[in-house]
Amino acid sequence: MWQFFHKLGSPKWFFGIAARLMPWLLAGGILLLMAGIVWGLAFAPKDYLQGNSYRIIFIHVPTAFLAQSVYVMMAVAAVVTLVWRMKLADVFVKSVAPVGLVLTFLSLFTGAVWGKPTWGTWWVWDARLTSMLILLFLYGGVIALDRAINDEKSAARAVSVLVLVGVVNIPIIQYSVEWWNTLHQPSTFKLTEKPSMPAEMWVPLLLSVLGMYLLFGWLACLRMQTEILLREQRTRWVKDYVLAGRG
Protein backbone atom coordinates (compact mmCIF):
# COMPACT_ATOMS: atom_id res chain seq x y z
CA MET A 1 0.00 0.00 0.00
CA TRP A 2 2.61 2.52 1.10
CA GLN A 3 4.90 1.50 -1.71
CA PHE A 4 2.10 2.14 -4.17
CA PHE A 5 1.52 5.52 -2.57
CA HIS A 6 5.17 6.47 -2.93
CA LYS A 7 5.30 5.25 -6.49
CA LEU A 8 2.30 7.40 -7.28
CA GLY A 9 4.48 10.36 -6.45
CA SER A 10 6.85 9.55 -9.26
CA PRO A 11 5.88 11.12 -12.58
CA LYS A 12 7.96 8.61 -14.50
CA TRP A 13 6.16 5.65 -12.94
CA PHE A 14 2.77 7.24 -13.61
CA PHE A 15 3.74 7.95 -17.20
CA GLY A 16 4.32 4.24 -17.81
CA ILE A 17 1.14 3.15 -16.03
CA ALA A 18 -0.90 5.73 -17.91
CA ALA A 19 0.50 4.53 -21.22
CA ARG A 20 -0.61 0.98 -20.39
CA LEU A 21 -4.05 2.05 -19.11
CA MET A 22 -4.96 4.46 -21.85
CA PRO A 23 -5.93 2.03 -24.66
CA TRP A 24 -8.28 0.23 -22.27
CA LEU A 25 -9.83 3.44 -21.02
CA LEU A 26 -10.31 4.73 -24.54
CA ALA A 27 -11.75 1.47 -25.88
CA GLY A 28 -14.03 0.97 -22.86
CA GLY A 29 -15.13 4.58 -22.92
CA ILE A 30 -16.02 4.62 -26.59
CA LEU A 31 -17.72 1.23 -26.35
CA LEU A 32 -19.88 2.14 -23.34
CA LEU A 33 -20.66 5.62 -24.59
CA MET A 34 -21.63 4.33 -28.04
CA ALA A 35 -23.74 1.57 -26.51
CA GLY A 36 -25.46 3.98 -24.15
CA ILE A 37 -26.07 6.64 -26.76
CA VAL A 38 -27.23 4.30 -29.54
CA TRP A 39 -29.49 2.43 -27.13
CA GLY A 40 -30.76 5.67 -25.66
CA LEU A 41 -31.31 7.52 -28.91
CA ALA A 42 -32.68 4.69 -31.02
CA PHE A 43 -34.14 1.97 -28.85
CA ALA A 44 -35.19 3.39 -25.46
CA PRO A 45 -38.95 4.07 -25.19
CA LYS A 46 -40.36 7.53 -25.68
CA ASP A 47 -41.11 9.59 -22.60
CA TYR A 48 -44.88 9.86 -22.08
CA LEU A 49 -44.62 13.57 -21.28
CA GLN A 50 -41.66 14.91 -23.18
CA GLY A 51 -41.71 12.66 -26.25
CA ASN A 52 -38.42 12.31 -28.03
CA SER A 53 -36.90 15.53 -26.73
CA TYR A 54 -35.92 13.87 -23.44
CA ARG A 55 -33.32 11.80 -25.31
CA ILE A 56 -30.73 14.52 -24.87
CA ILE A 57 -30.57 13.24 -21.27
CA PHE A 58 -28.11 10.61 -22.52
CA ILE A 59 -25.60 13.40 -23.18
CA HIS A 60 -26.74 16.00 -20.68
CA VAL A 61 -26.56 13.83 -17.56
CA PRO A 62 -23.11 12.31 -18.23
CA THR A 63 -21.54 15.72 -18.85
CA ALA A 64 -23.24 17.28 -15.81
CA PHE A 65 -22.26 14.29 -13.69
CA LEU A 66 -18.64 14.52 -14.76
CA ALA A 67 -18.53 18.31 -14.45
CA GLN A 68 -19.24 17.94 -10.74
CA SER A 69 -17.16 14.87 -10.06
CA VAL A 70 -14.14 16.36 -11.81
CA TYR A 71 -14.31 19.26 -9.39
CA VAL A 72 -14.53 16.88 -6.43
CA MET A 73 -11.54 14.92 -7.78
CA MET A 74 -9.66 18.20 -8.16
CA ALA A 75 -10.50 19.04 -4.54
CA VAL A 76 -9.11 15.70 -3.35
CA ALA A 77 -5.98 16.29 -5.43
CA ALA A 78 -5.76 19.79 -3.96
CA VAL A 79 -5.70 18.36 -0.43
CA VAL A 80 -2.98 15.92 -1.51
CA THR A 81 -1.00 18.81 -3.02
CA LEU A 82 -1.24 20.92 0.12
CA VAL A 83 -0.58 18.13 2.61
CA TRP A 84 1.88 15.81 0.89
CA ARG A 85 3.18 18.14 -1.84
CA MET A 86 2.77 15.30 -4.32
CA LYS A 87 3.74 16.42 -7.80
CA LEU A 88 1.24 14.22 -9.59
CA ALA A 89 -1.75 15.64 -7.72
CA ASP A 90 -0.83 19.08 -8.90
CA VAL A 91 -0.30 17.83 -12.46
CA PHE A 92 -3.79 16.32 -12.22
CA VAL A 93 -5.46 19.56 -11.11
CA LYS A 94 -3.72 21.53 -13.79
CA SER A 95 -4.52 19.02 -16.53
CA VAL A 96 -8.18 18.38 -15.81
CA ALA A 97 -9.37 21.91 -14.99
CA PRO A 98 -9.91 22.80 -18.68
CA VAL A 99 -11.64 19.44 -19.21
CA GLY A 100 -13.99 20.27 -16.33
CA LEU A 101 -14.64 23.69 -17.82
CA VAL A 102 -15.62 22.17 -21.17
CA LEU A 103 -17.81 19.52 -19.51
CA THR A 104 -19.60 22.18 -17.47
CA PHE A 105 -20.16 24.23 -20.57
CA LEU A 106 -21.48 21.18 -22.45
CA SER A 107 -23.89 20.34 -19.66
CA LEU A 108 -25.18 23.92 -19.60
CA PHE A 109 -25.46 23.93 -23.38
CA THR A 110 -27.29 20.62 -23.66
CA GLY A 111 -29.46 21.72 -20.74
CA ALA A 112 -30.40 24.88 -22.65
CA VAL A 113 -31.20 22.84 -25.77
CA TRP A 114 -33.34 20.53 -23.65
CA GLY A 115 -34.98 23.39 -21.81
CA LYS A 116 -36.29 25.04 -24.96
CA PRO A 117 -38.82 22.32 -25.91
CA THR A 118 -39.72 21.25 -22.37
CA TRP A 119 -39.71 24.48 -20.36
CA GLY A 120 -40.23 26.80 -23.30
CA THR A 121 -37.06 28.78 -22.56
CA TRP A 122 -33.33 28.45 -23.13
CA TRP A 123 -32.41 29.64 -19.71
CA VAL A 124 -34.00 30.23 -16.33
CA TRP A 125 -32.26 31.71 -13.32
CA ASP A 126 -33.04 28.83 -11.05
CA ALA A 127 -30.84 27.33 -8.39
CA ARG A 128 -29.48 24.34 -10.31
CA LEU A 129 -28.65 26.29 -13.44
CA THR A 130 -27.14 29.21 -11.57
CA SER A 131 -24.98 27.00 -9.39
CA MET A 132 -23.70 25.17 -12.48
CA LEU A 133 -22.89 28.57 -13.98
CA ILE A 134 -20.95 29.38 -10.80
CA LEU A 135 -19.11 26.09 -11.26
CA LEU A 136 -18.16 27.24 -14.75
CA PHE A 137 -16.81 30.50 -13.29
CA LEU A 138 -14.89 28.56 -10.64
CA TYR A 139 -13.20 26.43 -13.28
CA GLY A 140 -12.40 29.63 -15.16
CA GLY A 141 -10.92 31.17 -12.03
CA VAL A 142 -8.78 28.10 -11.32
CA ILE A 143 -7.38 28.15 -14.85
CA ALA A 144 -6.80 31.92 -14.75
CA LEU A 145 -4.97 31.78 -11.42
CA ASP A 146 -2.83 28.89 -12.60
CA ARG A 147 -1.82 30.79 -15.73
CA ALA A 148 -1.11 33.99 -13.79
CA ILE A 149 1.52 32.53 -11.43
CA ASN A 150 4.81 31.77 -13.07
CA ASP A 151 6.39 29.71 -10.35
CA GLU A 152 5.18 26.14 -10.69
CA LYS A 153 5.18 25.27 -7.00
CA SER A 154 3.41 28.41 -5.80
CA ALA A 155 0.89 28.07 -8.62
CA ALA A 156 0.12 24.53 -7.53
CA ARG A 157 -0.46 25.52 -3.91
CA ALA A 158 -2.39 28.71 -4.65
CA VAL A 159 -4.66 26.84 -7.06
CA SER A 160 -5.20 24.15 -4.43
CA VAL A 161 -6.38 26.72 -1.89
CA LEU A 162 -8.76 28.21 -4.45
CA VAL A 163 -10.14 24.79 -5.45
CA LEU A 164 -10.79 23.96 -1.81
CA VAL A 165 -12.55 27.25 -1.18
CA GLY A 166 -14.74 26.69 -4.23
CA VAL A 167 -15.76 23.25 -3.03
CA VAL A 168 -18.60 24.87 -1.01
CA ASN A 169 -20.45 25.14 -4.31
CA ILE A 170 -20.64 21.38 -4.89
CA PRO A 171 -23.21 20.53 -2.20
CA ILE A 172 -25.20 23.58 -3.28
CA ILE A 173 -25.41 22.20 -6.84
CA GLN A 174 -26.14 18.72 -5.60
CA TYR A 175 -28.99 19.65 -3.30
CA SER A 176 -30.30 22.72 -5.11
CA VAL A 177 -33.12 20.70 -6.69
CA GLU A 178 -34.19 19.46 -3.30
CA TRP A 179 -33.74 22.62 -1.23
CA TRP A 180 -35.50 25.00 -3.58
CA ASN A 181 -38.51 24.64 -5.84
CA THR A 182 -36.96 24.75 -9.25
CA LEU A 183 -37.89 23.85 -12.79
CA HIS A 184 -35.05 21.35 -12.91
CA GLN A 185 -36.07 17.79 -12.15
CA PRO A 186 -34.42 15.90 -9.26
CA SER A 187 -31.49 13.67 -10.06
CA THR A 188 -32.13 10.37 -11.76
CA PHE A 189 -29.65 8.32 -9.80
CA LYS A 190 -29.56 8.11 -6.05
CA LEU A 191 -27.44 5.73 -4.04
CA THR A 192 -30.27 4.70 -1.76
CA GLU A 193 -33.29 4.44 -4.06
CA LYS A 194 -34.24 2.80 -7.30
CA PRO A 195 -34.33 5.18 -10.27
CA SER A 196 -37.78 6.60 -10.97
CA MET A 197 -37.56 5.77 -14.67
CA PRO A 198 -37.93 2.33 -16.29
CA ALA A 199 -34.89 0.15 -16.78
CA GLU A 200 -34.92 0.64 -20.57
CA MET A 201 -34.16 4.29 -19.88
CA TRP A 202 -31.79 4.24 -16.95
CA VAL A 203 -29.57 1.37 -18.06
CA PRO A 204 -28.41 3.18 -21.23
CA LEU A 205 -28.07 6.35 -19.14
CA LEU A 206 -25.88 4.52 -16.65
CA LEU A 207 -23.82 3.09 -19.53
CA SER A 208 -23.19 6.51 -20.99
CA VAL A 209 -22.27 7.95 -17.58
CA LEU A 210 -19.74 5.15 -17.05
CA GLY A 211 -18.49 5.57 -20.61
CA MET A 212 -18.00 9.27 -20.00
CA TYR A 213 -16.00 8.47 -16.85
CA LEU A 214 -13.70 6.15 -18.77
CA LEU A 215 -13.31 8.67 -21.57
CA PHE A 216 -12.49 11.33 -19.01
CA GLY A 217 -9.93 8.96 -17.49
CA TRP A 218 -8.30 8.59 -20.88
CA LEU A 219 -8.28 12.32 -21.50
CA ALA A 220 -6.91 12.99 -18.02
CA CYS A 221 -4.09 10.47 -18.59
CA LEU A 222 -3.28 11.98 -21.95
CA ARG A 223 -3.17 15.53 -20.66
CA MET A 224 -1.21 14.51 -17.57
CA GLN A 225 1.32 12.71 -19.75
CA THR A 226 1.79 15.87 -21.80
CA GLU A 227 2.17 17.98 -18.68
CA ILE A 228 4.66 15.50 -17.20
CA LEU A 229 6.75 15.54 -20.39
CA LEU A 230 6.77 19.33 -20.29
CA ARG A 231 7.79 19.51 -16.65
CA GLU A 232 10.38 16.76 -16.79
CA GLN A 233 11.81 17.76 -20.13
CA ARG A 234 15.29 18.10 -18.68
CA THR A 235 15.41 14.60 -17.19
CA ARG A 236 17.16 11.67 -18.74
CA TRP A 237 14.11 9.39 -19.07
CA VAL A 238 12.13 11.97 -21.02
CA LYS A 239 15.04 12.44 -23.41
CA ASP A 240 15.31 8.66 -23.85
CA TYR A 241 11.56 8.37 -24.33
CA VAL A 242 11.40 11.09 -26.93
CA LEU A 243 14.44 9.82 -28.81
CA ALA A 244 13.20 6.23 -28.78
CA GLY A 245 9.66 7.09 -29.75
CA ARG A 246 10.00 9.87 -32.26
CA GLY A 247 13.56 9.46 -33.50
Binding site: G141, A148, D151, A158, V161, L164, V165
Partner: protein, 241 residues
Protein backbone atom coordinates in the same frame (compact mmCIF):
# COMPACT_ATOMS: atom_id res chain seq x y z
CA UNK B 1 4.05 55.86 -0.49
CA UNK B 2 5.29 58.24 2.15
CA UNK B 3 7.27 56.22 4.66
CA UNK B 4 6.28 58.16 7.79
CA UNK B 5 2.63 57.48 6.98
CA UNK B 6 3.20 53.87 7.86
CA UNK B 7 4.18 53.19 11.47
CA UNK B 8 6.10 50.00 12.12
CA UNK B 9 4.60 47.12 14.01
CA UNK B 10 6.17 46.05 17.28
CA UNK B 11 4.91 42.66 18.37
CA UNK B 12 8.26 40.92 18.62
CA UNK B 13 8.04 39.61 22.15
CA UNK B 14 6.41 36.28 22.76
CA UNK B 15 4.81 37.85 25.80
CA UNK B 16 2.42 39.81 23.60
CA UNK B 17 -0.76 37.72 23.64
CA UNK B 18 -2.68 36.92 20.49
CA UNK B 19 -5.50 39.27 21.42
CA UNK B 20 -3.12 42.15 22.06
CA UNK B 21 -1.40 41.43 18.76
CA UNK B 22 -4.74 41.51 16.95
CA UNK B 23 -5.54 44.82 18.58
CA UNK B 24 -2.19 46.23 17.54
CA UNK B 25 -2.67 45.12 13.91
CA UNK B 26 -6.19 46.51 13.87
CA UNK B 27 -5.14 49.83 15.39
CA UNK B 28 -2.25 50.18 12.98
CA UNK B 29 -4.44 49.53 9.94
CA UNK B 30 -6.90 52.15 11.16
CA UNK B 31 -4.08 54.62 11.74
CA UNK B 32 -2.60 54.02 8.29
CA UNK B 33 -6.02 54.36 6.68
CA UNK B 34 -6.81 57.63 8.40
CA UNK B 35 -3.51 59.07 7.20
CA UNK B 36 -4.61 58.30 3.64
CA UNK B 37 -8.16 59.58 3.83
CA UNK B 38 -8.71 59.70 0.09
CA UNK B 39 -8.28 55.93 -0.11
CA UNK B 40 -11.11 55.63 2.39
CA UNK B 41 -13.41 57.85 0.39
CA UNK B 42 -12.85 56.25 -3.00
CA UNK B 43 -14.90 53.06 -2.52
CA UNK B 44 -17.75 55.13 -1.08
CA UNK B 45 -17.74 57.51 -4.04
CA UNK B 46 -17.65 54.49 -6.32
CA UNK B 47 -20.64 53.03 -4.49
CA UNK B 48 -22.68 56.21 -4.91
CA UNK B 49 -21.71 56.57 -8.56
CA UNK B 50 -22.59 53.00 -9.50
CA UNK B 51 -26.00 53.41 -7.86
CA UNK B 52 -26.47 56.65 -9.81
CA UNK B 53 -25.84 54.85 -13.09
CA UNK B 54 -28.96 52.69 -12.81
CA UNK B 55 -31.71 55.35 -12.70
CA UNK B 56 -29.89 57.22 -15.47
CA UNK B 57 -29.01 54.18 -17.57
CA UNK B 58 -32.06 51.95 -17.14
CA UNK B 59 -35.08 53.88 -15.95
CA UNK B 60 -35.86 56.56 -13.37
CA UNK B 61 -39.41 55.17 -12.97
CA UNK B 62 -40.41 54.80 -9.34
CA UNK B 63 -41.88 51.32 -9.96
CA UNK B 64 -38.64 50.01 -11.50
CA UNK B 65 -36.41 51.52 -8.84
CA UNK B 66 -38.58 50.23 -6.01
CA UNK B 67 -38.37 46.74 -7.51
CA UNK B 68 -34.67 46.75 -8.37
CA UNK B 69 -33.35 49.18 -5.76
CA UNK B 70 -32.20 46.62 -3.21
CA UNK B 71 -30.43 44.60 -5.90
CA UNK B 72 -28.73 47.71 -7.28
CA UNK B 73 -27.48 48.74 -3.86
CA UNK B 74 -26.25 45.22 -3.13
CA UNK B 75 -24.42 44.91 -6.45
CA UNK B 76 -22.89 48.37 -6.00
CA UNK B 77 -21.76 47.51 -2.47
CA UNK B 78 -20.31 44.22 -3.69
CA UNK B 79 -18.36 45.94 -6.47
CA UNK B 80 -17.05 48.63 -4.18
CA UNK B 81 -15.82 46.07 -1.63
CA UNK B 82 -14.20 44.21 -4.53
CA UNK B 83 -12.49 47.41 -5.63
CA UNK B 84 -11.09 48.10 -2.18
CA UNK B 85 -9.78 44.56 -1.65
CA UNK B 86 -6.65 45.20 -3.64
CA UNK B 87 -5.46 47.53 -0.86
CA UNK B 88 -6.02 44.95 1.86
CA UNK B 89 -2.53 43.42 1.68
CA UNK B 90 -0.90 45.28 -1.20
CA UNK B 91 0.87 48.10 0.66
CA UNK B 92 1.97 45.80 3.45
CA UNK B 93 3.30 43.41 0.83
CA UNK B 94 5.19 46.15 -0.98
CA UNK B 95 6.96 47.55 2.09
CA UNK B 96 7.65 44.22 3.79
CA UNK B 97 5.27 44.61 6.72
CA UNK B 98 3.50 41.47 5.63
CA UNK B 99 6.65 39.40 5.98
CA UNK B 100 7.05 40.74 9.49
CA UNK B 101 3.47 39.71 10.23
CA UNK B 102 4.13 36.19 8.98
CA UNK B 103 7.19 35.99 11.22
CA UNK B 104 5.30 36.97 14.38
CA UNK B 105 4.95 34.30 17.05
CA UNK B 106 1.19 34.88 17.12
CA UNK B 107 -0.89 32.74 14.74
CA UNK B 108 -1.10 34.36 11.32
CA UNK B 109 -4.80 33.68 10.83
CA UNK B 110 -5.64 35.84 13.85
CA UNK B 111 -3.59 38.73 12.47
CA UNK B 112 -5.28 38.26 9.10
CA UNK B 113 -8.63 38.31 10.86
CA UNK B 114 -7.68 41.61 12.53
CA UNK B 115 -6.67 43.08 9.17
CA UNK B 116 -9.91 41.90 7.59
CA UNK B 117 -11.89 43.38 10.48
CA UNK B 118 -10.14 46.71 9.93
CA UNK B 119 -10.93 46.46 6.22
CA UNK B 120 -14.61 45.91 6.99
CA UNK B 121 -14.78 48.80 9.45
CA UNK B 122 -13.16 51.05 6.85
CA UNK B 123 -15.20 50.00 3.78
CA UNK B 124 -18.17 47.76 4.63
CA UNK B 125 -19.44 49.74 7.58
CA UNK B 126 -19.45 53.15 5.81
CA UNK B 127 -21.39 51.51 2.96
CA UNK B 128 -24.03 50.39 5.44
CA UNK B 129 -24.18 53.90 6.89
CA UNK B 130 -24.63 55.39 3.41
CA UNK B 131 -27.32 52.91 2.41
CA UNK B 132 -30.37 54.68 3.93
CA UNK B 133 -29.63 57.83 1.94
CA UNK B 134 -29.29 55.92 -1.33
CA UNK B 135 -32.26 53.74 -0.38
CA UNK B 136 -34.44 56.84 -0.24
CA UNK B 137 -33.07 57.94 -3.60
CA UNK B 138 -34.18 54.67 -5.22
CA UNK B 139 -37.61 54.99 -3.55
CA UNK B 140 -37.38 52.02 -1.18
CA UNK B 141 -39.87 52.16 1.69
CA UNK B 142 -38.73 52.49 5.28
CA UNK B 143 -39.11 48.84 6.19
CA UNK B 144 -37.14 47.69 3.12
CA UNK B 145 -34.36 50.16 3.89
CA UNK B 146 -34.10 48.83 7.42
CA UNK B 147 -33.92 45.23 6.24
CA UNK B 148 -31.46 46.19 3.49
CA UNK B 149 -29.16 47.83 6.05
CA UNK B 150 -29.40 44.74 8.22
CA UNK B 151 -28.50 42.40 5.33
CA UNK B 152 -25.59 44.62 4.36
CA UNK B 153 -24.47 44.73 7.97
CA UNK B 154 -24.34 40.93 8.05
CA UNK B 155 -23.28 40.54 4.41
CA UNK B 156 -20.41 42.99 4.00
CA UNK B 157 -18.19 41.25 6.60
CA UNK B 158 -18.71 38.06 4.59
CA UNK B 159 -17.63 39.94 1.48
CA UNK B 160 -14.49 41.22 3.25
CA UNK B 161 -13.66 37.77 4.62
CA UNK B 162 -14.09 35.88 1.34
CA UNK B 163 -12.35 38.71 -0.45
CA UNK B 164 -9.33 38.45 1.81
CA UNK B 165 -8.70 34.95 0.40
CA UNK B 166 -8.71 36.30 -3.15
CA UNK B 167 -6.55 39.27 -2.21
CA UNK B 168 -4.03 36.96 -0.56
CA UNK B 169 -3.98 34.57 -3.53
CA UNK B 170 -3.42 37.27 -6.14
CA UNK B 171 -0.84 39.22 -4.14
CA UNK B 172 2.08 40.30 -6.25
CA UNK B 173 0.68 39.00 -9.53
CA UNK B 174 0.42 41.00 -12.71
CA UNK B 175 -3.13 42.13 -13.52
CA UNK B 176 -4.06 41.13 -9.98
CA UNK B 177 -7.15 43.36 -9.93
CA UNK B 178 -9.03 41.64 -12.74
CA UNK B 179 -7.92 38.22 -11.59
CA UNK B 180 -9.13 38.99 -8.07
CA UNK B 181 -12.59 39.79 -9.43
CA UNK B 182 -12.65 36.60 -11.50
CA UNK B 183 -11.79 34.46 -8.49
CA UNK B 184 -14.02 36.16 -5.97
CA UNK B 185 -17.25 37.05 -7.78
CA UNK B 186 -18.40 33.40 -8.10
CA UNK B 187 -18.01 33.07 -4.34
CA UNK B 188 -19.94 36.29 -3.74
CA UNK B 189 -23.00 35.15 -5.69
CA UNK B 190 -24.67 33.17 -2.85
CA UNK B 191 -24.31 36.12 -0.46
CA UNK B 192 -25.83 38.43 -3.07
CA UNK B 193 -28.74 36.05 -3.74
CA UNK B 194 -29.67 35.79 -0.08
CA UNK B 195 -29.03 39.47 0.61
CA UNK B 196 -31.42 40.67 -2.08
CA UNK B 197 -33.80 37.77 -1.40
CA UNK B 198 -34.22 38.99 2.17
CA UNK B 199 -35.20 42.48 1.04
CA UNK B 200 -37.56 41.14 -1.64
CA UNK B 201 -39.21 38.96 0.97
CA UNK B 202 -39.53 41.92 3.35
CA UNK B 203 -41.08 44.05 0.60
CA UNK B 204 -43.80 41.43 0.19
CA UNK B 205 -44.47 41.55 3.91
CA UNK B 206 -43.15 38.03 4.49
CA UNK B 207 -41.06 37.21 7.58
CA UNK B 208 -37.31 37.54 7.02
CA UNK B 209 -36.05 35.64 10.04
CA UNK B 210 -35.08 32.53 8.08
CA UNK B 211 -33.18 34.55 5.49
CA UNK B 212 -31.32 36.52 8.12
CA UNK B 213 -30.46 33.31 9.95
CA UNK B 214 -29.00 31.90 6.74
CA UNK B 215 -26.94 35.03 6.19
CA UNK B 216 -25.77 34.76 9.78
CA UNK B 217 -24.73 31.20 8.99
CA UNK B 218 -22.72 32.47 6.01
CA UNK B 219 -21.04 34.97 8.32
CA UNK B 220 -20.14 32.33 10.89
CA UNK B 221 -18.84 29.99 8.19
CA UNK B 222 -16.74 32.73 6.60
CA UNK B 223 -15.51 33.95 9.98
CA UNK B 224 -14.29 30.50 11.00
CA UNK B 225 -12.83 29.29 7.70
CA UNK B 226 -11.77 32.30 5.62
CA UNK B 227 -8.91 33.51 7.90
CA UNK B 228 -7.24 30.09 7.67
CA UNK B 229 -7.50 30.06 3.88
CA UNK B 230 -6.19 33.64 3.62
CA UNK B 231 -3.31 32.91 5.96
CA UNK B 232 -2.36 29.85 3.88
CA UNK B 233 -2.67 31.88 0.69
CA UNK B 234 -0.50 34.67 2.15
CA UNK B 235 2.28 32.23 2.98
CA UNK B 236 2.12 30.88 -0.58
CA UNK B 237 2.18 34.35 -2.11
CA UNK B 238 5.11 35.43 0.05
CA UNK B 239 7.15 32.35 -0.82
CA UNK B 240 6.43 33.18 -4.45
CA UNK B 241 8.47 36.38 -4.39
Amino acid sequence: MNADCRPALTLRQDTVGSLAAMQAVFARDMQVAFRQRQDLLNPLLFFVMVVTLFPLGVSPEVSFLREAGAGILWVAALLSVLLSLDHLFRHDFDDGTLEQLVLQPQPLFLLVLAKTAAHWVLTGLPLVVLTPVLGVMVHLDGNSIGVLCLTLLIGTPVLSLIGSIGAALTLGLRSAGVLLSLLIIPLYIPVLIFGTGTVASAAEGAPVGAYLALMGAFLVLALTLAPFASAAALRISLSNG
